[in-house]
């Protein structure tokens, strides 16, 4: 669409950089018009930056037991009477700096969320392509499994996958294995939406001339599917992936909150909230409040961004 507009202005496409083309696109101008989208993007960017820079900007490494002093446990935030430097947001029961724990927790939550989106997206897009392109028995099989899975909420599936894997592996796992397991549980719980969307799009694309042309010049099915059909169905997939990221982060946080996610020694935001929840009644509100705020801010910002993207990419609303 934007390419046509550019071409009509008489500029050769090749000379304009990708960036210049992006700045000229409908998507970007819609972004410039929406204050909410820009604010949400700024907040999301801030969270990503903090997560990336966590090892360099945190006052303390919360994973290093040598840096934790039990003497410093349960200190309130700095602006309260008993606050102690350098613990800006106070400390938790193990003397862990809450600010550093939130930074590192954010990092973990985002990593798990992004990997979860990657796994569920790859699985869903792959199965959706196969179901839509080949049809027949494969299609029926994949879509029936999707139907069955849709009857259950994702969190229930993630919990079951998690529990079964623990039973099969014997229950003793290091942190990397735990993270991998959570990523797989999230991947297996959220692939259905990608598969359904991609399948319906592929069924439309399949009948178009360029696919026929590809077949005619002897391209193999995988090449047509991945190189030619897939690029034409990415719009809706992108929207799902954005909203899916928020859901994946919530799912990880929920698993960790329920005590089946990341361990206390390597806390994500959900783990921090579970730990802090136990101190709510003894007055140490800051242990749960700041991780909670970080999680809420992150999820709301990503959701707003996803909402905007869905409307911006929806041709019916333009």
């Amino acid at each position: 669409m934007s390419e046509a507009a550019i071409a009509s202005r008489g500029e050769p496409l090749a000379r304009r950089s990708r960036w210049a083309r992006f700045l000229d696109s409908d998507l970007f101008s819609s972004f410039r018009r929406s204050k909410i989208a820009m604010a949400a993007f700024a907040v999301t960017l801030l969270f990503f930056t903090v997560a990336l820079a966590a090892p360099w900007i945190s006052p303390q490494n919360p994973y290093d037991p040598a840096q934790l002093e039990l003497m410093n446990s349960n200190l309130p935030p700095l602006w309260q009477a008993e606050g102690v430097r350098p613990f800006l947001l106070g400390t938790d029961d193990q003397g862990r700096d809450v600010l550093s724990a939130v930074f590192y927790g954010l990092r973990l939550s985002l990593v798990v969320g992004l990997l979860g989106v990657l796994v569920s997206g790859t699985l869903g897009i792959g199965l959706g392509l196969i179901a839509g392109y080949f049809g027949g028995v494969l299609d029926t099989l994949i879509m029936r499994v999707a139907d069955v899975q849709l009857t259950f909420p994702a969190i229930l599936i993630a919990l079951v996958v998690d529990g079964v894997a623990k039973a099969a592996l014997g229950g003793h796992m290091d942190t990397d294995a735990t993270i991998a397991l959570i990523v797989v549980s999230i991947g297996l719980s959220f692939w259905v939406q990608y598969a359904r969307t991609v399948r319906s799009q592929v069924m439309v694309e399949k009948g178009k001339d360029y696919v026929q042309a590809g077949r005619l010049i002897g391209l193999s099915s995988p090449v047509i599917m991945v190189r030619h059909v897939l690029p034409n169905v990415t719009g809706p997939v992108f929207v799902i992936a954005t909203i899916n990221l928020a859901l994946a982060i919530i799912t990880e946080a929920t698993l960790s909150f329920l005590g089946t996610g990341l361990p206390d020694t390597m806390p994500s935001l959900g783990t921090l909230i579970r730990i802090g929840n136990g101190y709510l009644f003894s007055g140490e509100w800051w242990i749960v409040a700041f991780p909670g705020l970080a999680l809420a801010g992150l999820v709301i910002a990503i959701n707003l961004l996803g909402d905007w993207l869905r409307d911006a990419l929806n041709p019916k609303l333009q």
């Binding site: 969190i155 039973a167 099969a168 928020a246 929920t254 329920l258 089946t260 749960v288 909670g292 709301i300």
Partner: protein, 326 residues
């Protein structure tokens, strides 16, 4: 119509069969069932004896048939951690979950419809915009965070409501109820709001959208022309016509309310099936996990089927077409 219903029934059976197969595979292949029963010092000969007694040497198909037969008789095996029949454990916890789900749904329906109607009729007011903003937050925030926030506000800071448990319960036969005591009602408030909030926002947005749609139709304009009062038009005509999709959604959501109560029950230490399930996942108690999965599947399938049947009764167009119309 009969073909449509039969088709639906067949689909339900397929769903249940698939879930049953999953539950059975969990039982059979995730860890060694014998290890869960015997101690560390049990001699190998005795283990083999138990293996044979449990029928673990039979062909897998035979084992599945036996499992399915047991499940149909209501026998879900023995819990690894409690050493009690799973069916008894679930039956004991079921009233707590169902009462919570009922209250949450009623809360979601009443508040959702009220707020939705208000937002549709007074679209430009500040309060309506506030409701919409709240609904966005309600959809975005994870359930457990909302629960913790409510506990912090109403239990810790204000001290008005209890933060855990069911309060005093009364035993009626095998059913324990919190509806008959004051403390039971007080204990229900926070968990119901937490659990129902998501459904409430969903219903509110649906009612608002449907109301705005209906208010534009000809028969509402005609009712205005006839000189009916605004109240009669809004509530007697407009609202009534928005309720069919609302009730459908609320019905379909009842299943996810029961499943989502896992999180709410953990936050509030509510002694229901969801809490039992979470503890089972933490302790790798496969019999409870698979039984819960089957139970939730059965509830989902029953609700979906009931909604389908109600639909064919309510909507005459469905009775004529026999295809895959929904």
């Amino acid at each position: 119509m009969l073909a449509f219903l039969l088709n639906r029934l067949l689909q339900s059976v397929v769903v249940l069969f698939t879930v049953g197969l999953t539950a059975f595979s969990m039982f059979r292949f995730a860890g060694d069932p014998v290890n869960q029963i015997v101690g560390v010092d049990t001699p190998p000969a005795e283990r083999l004896e138990i293996r044979r007694a449990l029928g673990l040497d039979d062909p897998v198909a035979v084992q599945f048939a036996r499992y399915a037969g047991a499940v149909l008789r209501g026998d879900f095996g023995i819990s690894y951690q409690f050493r009690q029949p799973v069916s008894a454990l679930l039956a004991e916890r079921m009233p707590a979950t169902l009462e919570l789900a009922l209250c949450a749904t009623l809360f979601a329906l009443s508040m959702g419809i009220l707020m939705g109607v208000y937002c549709a009729l007074k679209r430009e007011t500040l309060l309506a915009k506030l409701f919409l903003a709240i609904s966005l937050v309600g959809v975005s925030l994870p359930t457990f965070l909302i629960g913790i926030l409510l506990i912090f506000l109403f239990s810790v800071t204000l001290g008005w409501l209890p933060s855990f448990g069911r309060g005093d319960t009364v035993r009626l036969g095998w059913w324990t109820t919190g509806f008959l005591t004051a403390s039971g009602w007080r204990a229900l408030i926070l968990p119901s709001v937490t659990l129902g909030l998501y459904q409430m926002t969903l219903i509110m947005r649906l009612v608002r959208a449907e109301m705005l749609e209906v208010l534009r139709t000809d028969y509402i304009r005609f009712a205005r022309a006839r000189g009916l009062t605004t109240r009669a038009i809004h509530f007697g005509h407009a609202l009534k016509n928005t309720l069919v999709p609302v009730i459908t959604i609320a019905g379909l959501q009842l299943g996810s309310v029961i499943a989502f109560s896992i999180i709410t029950e953990t936050v509030f230490q509510w002694p229901g099936m969801g809490l039992l399930f979470v503890q089972a996942v933490q302790n790798v108690d496969i019999p409870i996990m698979s039984a819960y999965l089957l139970l939730v599947a059965a509830i989902f399938v029953t609700i979906n089927l009931a909604v389908d049947v109600l639909y064919t009764i309510v909507d005459p167009r469905l009775r004529l077409s026999t295809g895959n119309a929904r």
